[in-house]
Structures are given as structure tokens and as C-alpha cells.
């Protein structure tokens, strides 16, 4: 009977769906949704891809991946190792350009 009592006392399992509706979407989420809907996110991703290739960032990441070797390496391993290095080595001009683009997008869709 002690098991039943503790089950009565146990707080209800948080329901994920209900939580989602209760919380207001954050500003970041709103911006993200707007960018995806308008297709701007896809365009920005393409732009970023192009800039990172041009400045050699992608080739540098490729050689970092190759250093790990070809055997006993999983995608998850690589992502785990490369992600912090990748984020840290994005050149400032590229960041600046993308931020500028996002700013103008926001300015143009301000309601």
C-alpha cells in the first residue's frame, strides 16, 4: 500500500504539449519563424555557405576532419569536435555581413 500512497503523492508528469502552448514564443523564435516563412533563412544559409567557402573556412574544417582519420570515426564524433572550432574561426567580416543582412530583413518586415 505504500507504493500506492507514493503514487498519489507523486506530482503529475509535465505534459510537453501543454507547456508549449503556455509559453510565449521567444523573440528569437519569432524571428526564426519569420525568416523561414519568407525564405530568407534559406538565402542567408546559401550566402553564408558561399562566404565560408571563399575564405577557406570550409577547407580548414575539412582538413581538421581528415586529421581524425577515416576509421572508427562517426558523424557525431566529428560534429562534436569540429563545432566549437568552427564557430570560433568564422571570420569577423562574414559575421558582420550576415548580421547586417538580418538587420535589414527585420527592418523591412517590421510591423
Amino acid at each position: 500500500m505504500s507504493a500506492k500512497r507514493s503514487s498519489i503523492n507523486r506530482p503529475p508528469t509535465p505534459d510537453v504539449d501543454r507547456d508549449r502552448e503556455n509559453q510565449e514564443p521567444t523573440l528569437q523564435e519569432i524571428i526564426n519563424i519569420k525568416m523561414i516563412e519568407s525564405g530568407e533563412k534559406e538565402r542567408l544559409k546559401e550566402l553564408l555557405r558561399e562566404r565560408l567557402i571563399e575564405c577557406g573556412w570550409r577547407d580548414e574544417m575539412k582538413s581538421l576532419c581528415r586529421k581524425k582519420g577515416r576509421n572508427n570515426v562517426t558523424v557525431d564524433d566529428l560534429v562534436h569536435v569540429i563545432t566549437p572550432k568552427g564557430r570560433a574561426s568564422v571570420p569577423d567580416p562574414v559575421k558582420a555581413e550576415l548580421l547586417q543582412r538580418i538587420r535589414s530583413f527585420l527592418a523591412s518586415t517590421a510591423t
Binding site: V16, K45, R49, P93
Partner: protein, 543 residues
């Protein structure tokens, strides 16, 4: 060549239990993004979120069995909750992922389904992929077998002996006198002398100059003169030879270049091949030309121009006798803000042949003044162009563009930048099949043009180098014969170490298909054979 990797245990189990049903259901949800990638997008406009943490910023995976979405941190959790839900699809990339192996996995059946959907979605052109084509070129095979016969004949001839030969240098090594700034000609001739199928053609008497109509009417025939030249060089006589007749014959053909001024070796090369082509067998209107110049040096380039608005790709094919490459300098095209580049100092970047080839096959955005008329959009649009090699020649001549001309400023200059080059070259990454395949991500899909029967491995046999300035420079050729390098500086031939060659400033690189190179080198072996008293055959040579 692509061999399918073995599926992991979990993928194999999944396939046994579910077959292709999961893939087929997924196919409807695959959309092609404007950039040409395949992503999984369900019909709802909601952004996909992880069912555990609601996150949307990490890699997201769609379970193939129950379609629930998990982020990379929670895929394992999903697999623990639901038994057997081990295989998922990366939503953004449409690539298979095994949750338990934590790794990407490959299944040709899956890729086929993705590709089919992708091609159905693309406007008309399939982004340059021709799905219907399954024909293999049998022409290439026929040409190769024809040249095989040549090699056997050469071997028979080479076993003759000429008593004039004294040294044990390989056959066909003979200095060429400079007739007045003709090192540009001598350097290219040395390379041609040792291009395997080209050499065999002239040495096995396929060029029957006895019955040449031009000669019999006392006119000049470039082909006959080349034949005579080959005979002289391979005769075994080691005294330097003066190719005066050949020079004169060439002047007749290229009147605009006839002078005692220094010419460009590459221009000479193209002009000689052109002369051979014109003098030779009449080309048929359709199909390939069978003159020796084309049989040996011609390949085919593929050019894809893709509209940036709709993805429609227009593909054209053009023949080539050589490929001119720009030096890769490691400089990124500058954005206005870029004062800081990724590499610490551009001065330490070494140009390499592979870098130049990468540059050659890199997608290039065409300028706004070069807008391409898109068939699909029916208007001029910004486009991207990408080159690749559809068909490799037997002998590949790579020309490094070291002479820059500025017509506006009316000046020219030479680029002295050192370029590193390999002795063995695998051209596979630059083939159309590889380049086109890469457009679609990591796929195990057989593309048309996957030539399984042609080799992509090449061996270097000649390097034409240039030293000095544009106006007063000197050409020297290094030949690679039987594992030894020889420096051919006009009349002077010396054996050199390979380091010397590697450090040289290359201008034209000559690579032969590996099999042809090794066979040709066998033919050059000096073997003591009893002399044959047959005066009819003009070439006699062995040491």
C-alpha cells in the same frame, strides 16, 4: 569508383523488416530547396522541433518508422523509448542516420529514391544529370585496342640494333640544336617524342611517307617531316640533331609565327597539333576525328551553366587538346570588409597542381554582365558555371597560364610563382561523373558517365619549364624515362635527380595514362639482340 559500404547491423535489420516502405513514404515529403539540396519538409509550415526538448537549432532527425523528430541529443532517447526505431533521416540533408551507431549510414536504395524525387522536382534539366543515359562509349575502347596493336609492333622494331649507339641511355634521347631562339620548339618536340601513343604511331610506320601525295608532288607535308624527325631521333645516333626541315615545314603552316623571335611553347604545341590534324585523315562530319593528334591528345570538357533563380542547368560539351589552368593563389575574392583573411599570411601559400584543378572545376558565379538566358525562366538570369572533364585523353597536357596579357594597359607579364606538381595524378575528382555527383550531397547513386572501364590514373613523362622573363627566357624540358629524369636543354641532355625536377618552374605538364606509360617504358629497355640486316626498316635502335 564507388563501392557500397556494408550496412550496419541496425540498418540491415530495418531493411529486413520494413524493406523500402519507409523510404517510399518519405519520398513525398522530400522537397528540393532553391539551392538544389534535398530536404525533408512536411506539408505543415511549422518548423520541425525535437519532441523531447522542443529545440530546433541542432541537427534534427526524423524516425523512419514513426516520423517523430528528435534532435541529435535525443535520438538515442527515442530509440530507447521505442524498440527498433533505430534508423532516422537527417531532415535538412535527406541522409540516413543510424541512432545506435551514432553515425551516417548509406543505402543505395534510399539514395535512388531521394534522387528520383529530386530529379522529378527539378525543372526539365535535372541539374545536369541525364537519368536515361546508360550507354557506354564503345568508341574509346575501339581506339584503345587499335593503339594496343601499335605497341606490339613497336616492340618488334625496337629489338633491332644499331651499332652507332654507344651509351645505354634509353632510346629516343637526342639533343636538338637551337636554330635561333627555337628552344620553344625543341622543348615541345622532346615531350612529343615520348608521348607513348604519339611516338608509337610514328615509329611503327603508320605514317607511310613513301606514298604521301604531297611529298610526291614536292610539296611540304608536316606529318612526313615529323615522321622523318622521329626516325632521326630514334635512330640511335646521339649527336645533336637540327630539326630545320620541321621548323620550315611548321613555318609554312603557321605563317604568322614564322620568325626568329622567341615564341610561346604552348602556342607552338597547339599549332603543331593543328597542323597534324589538317594534314591528316579527313575528319568525318559526325563523330571523332581519327588523326593521330586527336586520338592521342583530345578529350572532352563539360560545361554546366545553372540558373540561380530556378535551378535549370544547361550542359554543353566541347573537345579539348589541352587544359589551360590558372594558378591557384589561395586568395579569396575579397569582400569589401575582408581585411583579415583566414590564413595567417598569404605569402606562405604554395600553389599546387591539384589546387589549380580544383579551381578549374570550381563553380563560378558569372558576372552580372554575363547573364545567361534561362530556357525555363525565359529571361536572362544570374548563373553559375561549372567545368568538369567528360572524357580524358590518352595523353593529358596541362598548361599553366604564366603569361598574363593586359590588352587595355598594353602590357604583359610573367607569373613566376612556384607550383608544386605530382608525378602520379589521379584525375577522378575532376571528372564530370564526380563533379556532378557532388552536387547532390553524399550519395551512392550511379550517375551516367561513370566510366568504369577507363582509368583515371596518369603518370608524368615530360615537363616543359620556362625560366627568365617574358621577352628573354629559356625553355627546358625534363623527361621521365624508365625511372630516370633527363634534362633536355637544346643540344645538351643530362641525367638529373628528381628533386631538380620538382623544384623547377613548370609551364606545361605532360601526363600519360598509367598503363600506356609503363608499357612504353618497357619498350625502351636496352637488350642485346643479334643485328638484323634488314635495310628496309628505317628505324633501327637499341643500345
Amino acid at each position: 569508383m564507388y563501392t557500397n559500404p556494408k550496412p550496419c547491423k541496425h540498418l540491415a535489420d530495418y531493411k529486413l523488416r520494413h524493406g523500402l516502405s519507409g523510404y517510399n513514404l518519405l519520398q513525398e515529403q522530400i522537397r528540393t530547396t532553391p539551392s538544389g539540396k534535398s530536404s525533408v519538409k512536411n506539408h505543415q509550415t511549422e518548423i520541425p522541433r525535437c519532441c523531447f526538448c522542443n529545440g530546433y537549432q541542432k541537427r534534427l532527425y526524423l524516425c523512419l518508422i514513426c516520423s517523430s523528430i528528435s534532435c541529435s541529443s535525443h535520438t538515442l532517447l527515442h530509440s530507447q523509448c521505442e524498440n527498433g526505431h533505430d534508423i532516422a533521416v537527417d531532415i535538412e540533408r535527406s541522409e540516413l542516420y543510424c541512432v545506435l551507431c551514432c553515425d551516417q549510414v548509406y543505402d543505395p536504395d534510399f539514395d535512388k529514391i531521394v534522387m528520383l524525387k529530386h530529379l522529378m522536382d527539378l525543372p526539365r534539366s535535372g541539374n545536369g544529370v541525364d537519368v536515361s543515359a546508360g550507354r557506354r562509349s564503345s568508341k574509346r575502347r575501339r581506339l584503345c585496342s587499335a593503339l594496343e596493336l601499335d605497341l606490339k609492333k613497336t616492340k618488334q622494331l625496337v629489338s633491332m640494333r644499331d651499332l652507332r649507339a654507344k651509351s645505354c641511355y634509353p632510346l629516343g634521347l637526342r639533343g636538338l640544336n637551337n636554330l635561333g631562339s627555337t628552344c620553344f620548339m625543341n622543348s615541345v618536340l622532346q615531350a612529343l617524342l615520348h608521348a607513348p601513343p604519339f611516338r608509337n604511331y610514328f615509329l611503327t610506320g603508320q605514317r607511310n611517307h613513301e606514298v604521301c601525295r604531297k611529298r610526291s608532288s614536292d610539296r611540304l607535308c608536316l606529318l612526313c617531316d615529323i615522321y622523318v624527325f622521329f626516325s632521326a631521333v630514334f635512330s640511335g645516333d646521339r649527336t645533336p640533331y637540327s630539326p630545320a626541315q620541321l621548323l620550315y615545314s611548321w613555318w609554312q603552316h603557321s605563317a604568322n609565327l614564322a620568325s626568329y623571335e622567341q615564341q610561346d611553347a604552348h602556342e607552338f604545341f597547339i599549332s603543331v597539333l593543328d597542323g597534324i590534324h589538317e594534314n591528316g585523315v579527313k575528319a568525318r562530319n559526325t563523330g571523332e576525328c581519327h588523326c593521330v593528334a586527336h586520338r592521342v591528345f583530345s578529350g572532352q570538357l563539360r560545361s554546366d551553366v545553372t540558373c540561380m533563380s530556378c535551378g535549370y542547368t544547361s550542359t554543353t560539351y566541347d573537345p579539348f587538346m589541352d587544359i589551360s589552368l590558372n594558378l591557384d593563389t589561395g586568395n579569396c575574392p575579397s569582400t569589401d570588409l575582408a581585411n583579415k583573411s583566414l590564413k595567417p599570411s598569404d605569402n606562405t601559400y604554395v600553389s599546387t597542381l591539384l589546387g589549380c584543378l580544383d579551381l578549374f572545376t570550381k563553380p563560378e558565379k558569372l558576372g552580372s554582365d554575363q547573364k545567361f538566358f534561362c530556357e525555363n525562366c525565359q529571361e536572362r538570369q544570374d548563373s553559375v558555371k561549372q567545368m568538369s572533364i567528360k572524357r580524358l585523353p590518352l595523353v593529358l597536357c596541362l598548361h599553366i597560364k604564366r603569361f598574363e596579357h593586359f590588352p587595355v594597359r598594353r602590357m604583359s607579364r610573367k607569373i613566376d610563382r612556384y607550383m608544386q606538381f605530382p608525378f602520379c595524378l589521379d584525375m577522378n575528382p575532376y571528372l564530370s561523373s564526380s563533379v556532378v555527383r557532388n552536387r547532390f550531397g553524399n550519395r551512392m547513386f550511379a550517375f551516367e558517365g561513370d566510366e568504369l572501364d577507363t582509368s583515371t590514373e596518369f603518370e608524368i613523362f615530360a615537363v616543359v619549364t620556362h625560366s627568365g622573363t617574358l621577352d628573354s627566357g629559356h625553355y627546358v624540358t625534363y623527361l621521365h624515362l624508365k625511372d630516370q629524369w633527363y634534362k633536355c636543354d637544346d643540344a645538351w641532355i643530362t641525367a638529373v635527380e628528381e628533386e631538380v625536377v620538382r623544384a623547377s618552374q613548370c609551364y606545361m605538364l605532360f601526363y600519360a595514362q598509367k598503363m600506356l606509360y609503363y608499357k612504353a617504358n618497357e619498350d625502351l629497355v636496352c637488350q642485346p639482340v643479334s643485328p638484323r640486316a634488314d635495310p628496309f626498316l628505317p628505324i633501327a635502335g637499341c643500345c
